[in-house]
Structures are given as structure tokens and as C-alpha cells.
Amino acid sequence: MYWLSKKRYKIGFLIPTLVVYSVFIILPIIIAVSYSFTRYSGIGKAKFLGLDNYIRLFQDKLFWISLKNTMIIFVLAFVLLLTVAFLIALLLNNRLKAVDASKALIFSPAIIAPIIVGIIWVYILDPNIGILNNILEAFGASEMKQKWIGGEFWSPYSVAIIYFWQQLGYLVTIFIAGLKMIPNDVMEAMRIDGANGFQEVKYVIIPMMKTTISTVAVLVITGVFKIFEIVQQTTGGGPNHLSETLVTYSYSMTFTSSHYGYGMSLATVTFLLSLIITAIYSFLTKEKER
């Protein structure tokens, strides 16, 4: 299609997007990153510090705790969301009655305002008033009661579950769509060859859905590094910042503690981590495709 790939079209069509994107996304990122080399409270003049913020960051225990929490959420969400969403998609891809309604309902958590998500889940997970612990007690399993939120250990796992709940419908929809793209004759051929359900999934469906899976994966990876409201509303990062994720910790440093410069250095590291993990993922999957 050389004839329509004229330079003036290319430039003309790309320019609006590139300009808006550069002015409102890239330039702000550059400004934010440059603040990460300063001490700045948000008012008045910033003071240049060089790499001090970054040195402080690597010595900051809370940074490592929030990194650990983020990684727990990442691994859990990644594994759970990819597998469960995939399995549910397989299930809902069958001709069942009311399957459309079910899809819509599963999608509904994605549109509930974050503050409400917080309130609802606190009532489920709160160690004292939450449903979960009350149910455990009612069934005589008191020894299984935990500080699901507000404790040191379980909070990131709970956040991962809430994130999972919120994103499930969204990703199921993408998977179902991917399944719909697999040509029917391929499936038929498999069945005639006497493949069972498991083999079908392993040898036909998964290989044919590689690109769908990687789209979902990219959305999950970048999504996890942006989780904010869920943590803010369920634990507020507490007790004492121990359930903080990278984003909530940098937010609290930036705005609650007025360490704008330091907060931006945390944000920069978070941004880079997300980019790097996405890049590693695309690199690994690309290798396999060849």
C-alpha cells in the first residue's frame, strides 16, 4: 500500500495524537521526574538535591515493604486473573440460557465507584465487624479468623482478591472475544480425532489465543502498578504504612506528607518497574512465538 503511505498523510494523521500525548502525558512525566531530584513541599521553590531522594529511597524500609506488597499483589492477580478469567470465559462461551445476563453481571464490579468498593469490602474483610470472620465463627472455625485487612500479613492478599473481583468481568469479556475468533472447523477436527476437553484447551485453544492472552497480561501488569483506591479505601495503607503499595506510598509521601520531591522519586521508580516488567513480558512471549 505504498501509494497511500504518503508522508503528508502519515505526519498529518499522527500529529494530533502525538501533540496531545506529548503535551499532556510525556511533558508532565518529564516535569515529575525532574522534581524527583529536588526537595519540594508543593509550595514555593524546589531545591535541587541530586540523587539524594533515590539514595534515601533504597534505604527506606517502607519502600521495600510497599514493593513487596505490590509484588505479592502482582503475582497473585496475574496468576488468578489469567487462569480464572480464562476458565470462566471457557464456561460462559457455551450455549447456556441467561449467559448474557451473567456476563453483564460479572462485569458490573468494574463500574462501582472506588469509595463504595472500599466501604463494601471493609464490611466483608474487617476483622471485627466483617462478614467473613463472622461466618468463620458461625461455622465453628474461629481459629481460621484472620486480620484480613488492617494486619501486617494478609492485607496485600486481600487487596489482590479485591482487584481480582473488580477486573474479572473485564478480562472475561476479552477472553470470550478471543475464544469466538477460533474457527469452528479447527475445533471440529480436534473432536473427530477424539480429543477430550483438556487436550482441546491445551493444543488448540491456548496456542490460538496467544495474542489475546498477552493483551490481557499487559493490561494486568500495568493495572497492578496503578492500584490505588482499593488500598486507600480498605486499609489506608495501614497499620503504619505496612499494607502500602508503591502507588499509595508515593501518593501519601507526595500529598499527605508534602514530600513532593521524594514522592516523585518513588513514582518514577514505580513507573520504571511497570515499564520494565511489561517489556520483559513482551520479550519473553515474542521469543516463544518464533
Binding site: 499532556f24 515529575a32 451473567s102 463504595i116 466501604i119 469479556t173 476479552i174 513514582a267
Partner: protein, 276 residues
């Protein structure tokens, strides 16, 4: 026999999953009929009577007509604008030939990179840029929403457009199409499903977006729906009933909107995701 058993198991699975996922949502609806102190002191009990006070109170506190109007206004303008520009750029990235394919990949990667950025990092810098550009109020908000949608839209649109066979373009050109006709009359109609998807996700994002709205909008008359909740949570007081009721009033239009577009989402995702 075996088949029937399998089907029953599937139904049970479907119903269970749906119930588990939807339970908190239903619960929220129940909460909206309880008084504020009931919500705080006995969150698990069912409301004794169907109590509409929270809704009445919410309607009294906020000018919903104005909020809806502002939100729809910002939504429609942003979404139309972002779809026009990202369609054009994605068309270039997916269907035009570059001598150096590395440039193509770089631009694509550059545009996708935005997926990794959490919005709060942009708050202060964007405000300052808006001051320099003289953008204020709703207009400032529209540009931000357009910008933050670019990465997601590019991911979906480029993936989809790449999956359309190039033969279409060739056939169209042989039929005497120029580039505008090709884009608007041939490619765009085929892209309808993915555009529907983008519209849904962008609209839902803007509808619920709070951080930018709260920083960019100073005038009460400009406020959007997502800012409603702050009217029920003060420094020393909180009205959970009001928050829940106002959220339900925010969600209802979303559900209707989703219901209308739902079929298109599935179609759209089919296309967009596969080549993602």
C-alpha cells in the same frame, strides 16, 4: 446422560460465579435504603423498611441535573475528540508502510507507554501546563481525558486494524477510492465494534474519574458526578447513606449505557484483543 450432567454442572458453575461476583453490588443497593447510623452500627442487617431518605437527601444536597449535564458534556466532547485523533494515528500505525519499520515500532511503543503511568503523578505538572496554555475548568479537563485515553485506544485500535486483511485496501483502491473514502467508508464501518468498546471504556473512565476533576474544576457549577461523594464526607462528618445513594445514582446511567452497548463490547473485543 453424560452431556446433561455436564450441562447442569455448567449452570451451577455459572450461577455460583455470578452470585459471588455480584453479591457486593446487591449489598450496596441494600445499604442505600438504610439510615446512616444503621449502616455504621449494623452493616449486615436488612433494612426494616424501604427507606428513601438517603436518596431524598442526596437530591436535596446536590444539583444532579447540573452534574449530569457537566459530566455528559465533558464525556461526549472528550470521547468524540479522542476517537477521531486515535483513529487517524492508529490507521497510520497499522496500515501504512514505513521504510524503516523501527520508527513505526518506536512510535507505537511510545504511545503504549502511557499505560504504565498512574494518574496522580500527572496532577501537578498538568495543572501547570494548563496554566501556561491558559486552559481552565472543563476545557482543561477534556484535554487531560483525551490524553490519558490515547494509550489504551492505540493498543486496541492498532491491534484491530492490523487484523483486517490488506486486500481490503487494495480492492478499494482498484475501485477508485481515495484515502478519505477508504478510511471513512471502508475501514471505519468495519471498526465499529472496536470503537464501541473504546467508547464504553472511555466513558466509564471519565464518568468515575475523580483526581483530575477535583483539581481542575474550581467552580461548583462545573463539577462532575464523581465529585458528588465529597459532599457527604466532610472533615468531621460523614454520611455513608448519602455516599451510597449518590453512587447508585451515578451507576444507574452507567448500567443503562452498558446494557445498550454490551453486544458491541463482545464483538469489539473479539476484534481488538486478538491481535492485541
Amino acid at each position: 446422560m453424560v452431556k446433561k450432567k455436564k450441562k447442569t454442572a455448567m449452570y451451577i458453575g455459572m450461577i455460583l460465579i455470578t452470585l459471588v461476583v455480584v453479591f457486593p453490588f446487591i449489598w450496596m443497593v441494600i445499604l442505600s435504603f438504610k439510615s446512616n447510623s444503621d449502616i455504621m452500627s449494623s452493616p449486615l442487617s436488612l433494612p426494616k423498611t424501604l427507606n428513601f431518605d438517603n436518596y431524598k437527601n442526596a437530591l436535596k444536597t446536590l444539583d444532579y441535573l447540573q452534574l449530569y449535564r457537566n459530566t455528559v458534556f465533558v464525556c461526549v466532547i472528550s470521547v468524540v475528540f479522542e476517537i477521531i485523533i486515535t483513529f487517524l494515528s492508529s490507521f497510520v500505525l497499522s496500515r501504512m508502510v514505513f521504510k524503516n519499520s523501527k520508527i513505526l515500532k518506536m512510535i507505537y511503543g511510545f504511545l503504549i507507554m502511557g499505560l504504565s503511568i498512574s494518574p496522580f503523578i500527572l496532577l501537578f505538572p498538568v495543572y501547570k501546563i494548563n496554566v501556561v496554555l491558559g486552559l481552565r475548568g472543563k476545557l482543561a479537563l477534556i484535554f487531560i481525558y483525551v490524553a490519558t485515553s490515547i494509550s489504551f485506544n492505540t493498543l486496541l485500535l492498532v491491534g484491530y486494524l492490523k487484523s483486517l486483511p490488506t486486500e481490503i485496501d487494495e480492492a478499494a483502491v482498484i475501485d477508485g477510492c481515495n484515502i478519505w473514502n477508504l478510511m471513512l467508508k471502508v475501514i471505519l464501518p468495519m471498526t465499529k465494534p472496536v470503537i464501541a468498546t473504546i467508547v464504553i471504556f472511555n466513558v466509564l473512565y471519565i464518568w468515575n474519574e475523580f483526581p483530575f476533576a477535583s483539581v481542575m474544576l474550581r467552580d461548583v457549577s462545573d463539577y462532575t458526578l464523581s465529585m458528588g461523594a465529597s459532599f457527604f464526607k466532610g472533615n468531621y462528618t460523614v454520611d455513608y447513606g448519602g455516599i451510597v445513594a449518590s453512587s447508585i445514582m451515578i451507576i444507574i446511567p452507567e448500567l443503562i449505557f452498558y446494557g445498550i452497548f454490551q453486544k458491541n463490547i463482545v464483538e469489539g473485543m473479539t476484534a481488538g484483543a486478538v491481535k492485541g
